[in-house]
């Protein structure tokens, strides 16, 4: 078995090495008219929720929520997230109730069969800024702003060899937040000479699907006022909203990692016991 594993590892590594050259060749592209996106890979940031003991920073999530509410939610829905889950950000039940009441959602038909709006309650989800996808597209030059509920898990830049192997050991799962942060801070760079930017789009070398996107730079320094004294800079905003979106996409992350630690401890101890039992049972049999 040891031989088989060693053989497997050697075989895998050999082929991977042989092909990393081909991979690099593929990555090389014309600076003015690139064919592979994103043009630049996102930087890896330090996130509190990374690694085996990762946890969300509630203060940061609250700041992120403020950014979502004041900036992003003008165009981006977050359909899958109910107000009640905001208690996980450290708010009290009353605070969540008050927060929800700031939104209006369509009520069930009344006795006359009319649908009127009512104040949202904690059981409601964040309402969409547009009544339907067509309205969203019409208001945004044909591009529907994506829903934000899962965006932090639905975007990740391909890691490539050998990083994707190293990720198994470093437990890198933060491609989504890294990407969002890179995108938000990546506006304002000047495109390389000779590059044609389509009308109504904005160059961003970190955009995953093309050289430019329909959204203009959404966040600027000083745009959102923080109550906790954190720096009101684009870099800080971008980190906070990315962390918040990671929470929105994976609300049970902390519970998952905590459970995982207990499971791992159990399994390792159990493996030890079974191994001792195995040694004992096989002690008098040559094999």
């Amino acid at each position: 078995m040891k031989k088989i594993l060693l053989g497997l590892a050697a075989a895998g590594l050999g082929t991977m090495l042989a092909f990393s050259g081909a991979y690099a060749a593929e990555e090389a592209h014309n600076a003015a008219e690139p064919t592979h996106f994103p043009i630049k890979k996102p930087a890896e940031l330090d996130w509190t929720f990374a690694g085996p003991f990762g946890h969300y920073d509630k203060q940061q999530l609250q700041r992120g929520l403020k950014i979502y509410k004041e900036v992003c939610s003008a165009c981006h829905s977050m359909n899958l997230v109910p107000f009640r889950s905001l208690e996980e950000l450290g708010y009290t039940e009353a605070q969540v109730k008050a927060f929800a009441a700031e939104y209006e959602v369509p009520d069930a038909p009344n006795a006359d069969g009319e649908i009127v709006n009512r104040k949202a309650i904690p059981a409601d989800h964040f309402p969409s800024p547009y009544p339907n996808a067509q309205a969203a597209a019409a208001a945004n030059g044909g591009a529907v702003p994506p829903d934000f509920s899962l965006i932090a898990k639905a975007r990740a830049v391909e890691r490539g060899f050998p990083l994707f192997l190293a990720d198994i050991f470093t437990q890198y799962q933060e491609g989504g937040p890294d990407y969002i942060h890179a995108l938000l801070t990546g506006f304002g760079e000047t495109p390389p000479e000779g590059m044609q930017i389509p009308e109504g789009t904005h160059y961003n070398p970190y955009f995953i699907a093309a050289k430019s996107l329909a959204m203009a730079q959404p966040l600027q320094d000083g745009q959102v006022t923080y109550d906790d004294g954190s720096p009101q800079t684009l870099a800080q905003y971008s980190q906070d909203i990315s962390a918040f979106l990671m929470w929105a996409a994976e609300p049970h992350l902390e519970e998952r990692k905590k459970t995982g630690f207990r499971v791992m401890i159990f399994l390792v101890l159990f493996a030890g016991l079974v191994y001792v039992a195995k040694r004992r049972i096989w002690a008098d049999v040559e094999h």
Binding site: M1, I4, G7, L8, A11, G12, G14, T15, M16, A18, F19, A22, Y23, A25, E26, P52, N79, L80, S85, P146, S149, L150, K153, A154, R155, A156, F161, D167, I168, Q171, Q173, G175, G176, A209, A249, P251, H252, E255, R256, K257, T259, G260, F261, V263, M264, L267, V268, F270, A271, V274, Y275, A277, K278, I281, W282, V285, E286, H287
Partner: protein, 432 residues
């Protein structure tokens, strides 16, 4: 080997009462306690047990997931997210199930490679091997349809691409595709029938597993030497010896499984599958799950027409052929020696085959262009060449190393060889 008489003796009254009416305890005792297994099995032989447990795990998590899942194009995506967010431990069930599929395939590939290495498919175990290939096929169908159920972008477009393969066949192709889809494109009927079949097939797998284990218990297990069991000293009782060894391998495997579930739950998945299916937006690269990538690479390697067969049909035939060829492996291998341990050339080409399979997997994840296509073609040629040319040829021209007389002799020789001169090891009772 096990066809002989039973060593089960009912002791208590109730055991005797049951044994006279339905000897199920006797069957269990003879199959999983007294059943003799070769004493020299290594941990590569633990994967059969691991696979049985993975099947159980997938069925258990799957049954609970099905209680919360809605097979409707308008509801499927949100119902899965509801499981992830609102169902008690739903995130755990769902990650266990999705990562469990990957672990299932990891284990089955090791299991198959082990069979190829030690020649487990050779007579008299041909049917055992063929049943295993049938299980692999059923697993592939189950996994493919399961991947469609969350109704993400990769679900939808993967289903579109894979069902599209069938249109490559002349005349019968289009009707087959329409039967699979329940219409002309992937839509609600497709999702419904895939859900139904995804629930059905695992139980068919379980049925074939019973036959697989039955066939195994008739012929007995192979072992790293490839020599058949000759005497009682060659074997040990399944319980406690194999049970505890398999249990240790199983716990180690579960550590790996848990590591992915709790720390890297989305590592094996594709980010696009967290975007709801949209029939108007095609993803930049449509890639299947990692366990299908080698076959996907072979499909795309055929970029040329061969006579009346166009490149599309050629690719599909190659892809189906890459599994179909496994059915005749027992008759392709002409070697008189079973295990690669005693076959230096086969051993070398076997490891090249493994490396080639990994390379094809990586190529399957790359876009089909330039050098990648060329490498895929080379890899495909080796994949088939290994079975069609090397297997028959090596058996005829290779000079195998000297085989020990028995399993016991091999075991004792191995344990004595550290320090003491070899060759004095044979156990006296196995001579002659």
């Amino acid at each position: 080997m096990s066809g002989g008489h039973s060593s089960y003796t009912p002791n208590t009254g109730i055991e005797k009462w049951i044994d006279a009416r339905l000897p199920l305890p006797r069957l269990m005792y003879d199959s999983f306690v007294a059943y003799p297994v070769p004493r020299n099995l290594n941990y590569a032989y633990a994967f059969g047990g691991i696979l049985a447990l993975m099947l159980v795990s997938q069925i258990l998590t799957g049954v609970v997931l099905a209680m919360h899942y809605a097979a409707d194009t308008g509801l499927a995506f949100t119902s899965v997210e509801k499981i992830m967010r609102d169902v008690n431990s739903g995130w755990l069930l769902r990650y266990l199930h999705s990562n469990g599929a990957s672990m299932f395939f990891l284990a089955v590939y090791v299991h198959i490679f082990r069979g190829l290495y030690y020649g487990s498919y050779k007579a008299p175990r041909e049917l055992l091997w063929i049943l295993g290939v049938i299980i692999l096929l059923l697993m592939m169908a189950t996994a493919f349809m399961g991947y469609v159920l969350p109704w993400g972008q990769m679900s939808f477009w993967g289903a579109t691409v894979i069902t599209g393969f069938f249109t490559a066949f002349p005349i019968i192709g289009d009707p087959i595709q329409q039967l699979l889809l329940g219409g002309f494109a992937v839509d609600n009927p497709t999702l419904n029938r895939f859900f139904s079949l995804h629930y059905l097939l695992p139980f068919m797998i379980a049925g074939v597993v019973v036959l697989h284990v039955w066939a195994l218990h008739v012929t007995g297990q192979t072992n790293p030497t490839g020599i058949e069991v000759k005497s009682k000293t060659d074997t040990v009782a399944f319980t406690p010896y194999a049970t505890v060894k398999d249990a240790f391998g199983l716990v180690l495997f579960f550590i790996l499984f848990a590591y992915f579930v709790f720390y890297l739950p989305n590592y094996m998945g594709h980010p696009d599958n967290y975007i709801q299916a949209d029939s108007l937006k095609t993803p930049a690269h449509i890639v299947p799950e990692w366990y299908f990538l080698p076959f996907y690479a072979m499909l795309r390697a055929i970029t040329f027409n061969i006579g009346p067969i166009n490149s599309k049909l050629g690719g599909v035939l190659i892809m189906f052929g890459s599994i179909a060829i496994l059915f005749i492996v027992p008759w392709l291998d002409t070697s008189k020696v079973r295990s690669a341990v005693y076959r230096p050339w086969y051993k070398l080409f076997f490891w090249v085959f493994v490396a080639n399979a990994i390379m094809l997997g990586w190529l399957g994840s790359r876009p089909a262009e330039g050098l990648y296509t060329l490498f895929s073609q080379v890899g495909t040629a080796y994949y088939f060449g290994f079975f069609v040319v090397l297997m028959p040829l090596l058996g005829l021209i290779e000079t195998p190393r000297r085989l020990p007389n028995s399993i016991t002799e091999a075991v004792l020789a191995k344990n004595k060889s550290g320090g003491q001169p070899a060759g004095i090891a044979a156990a006296p009772e196995t001579k002659g």
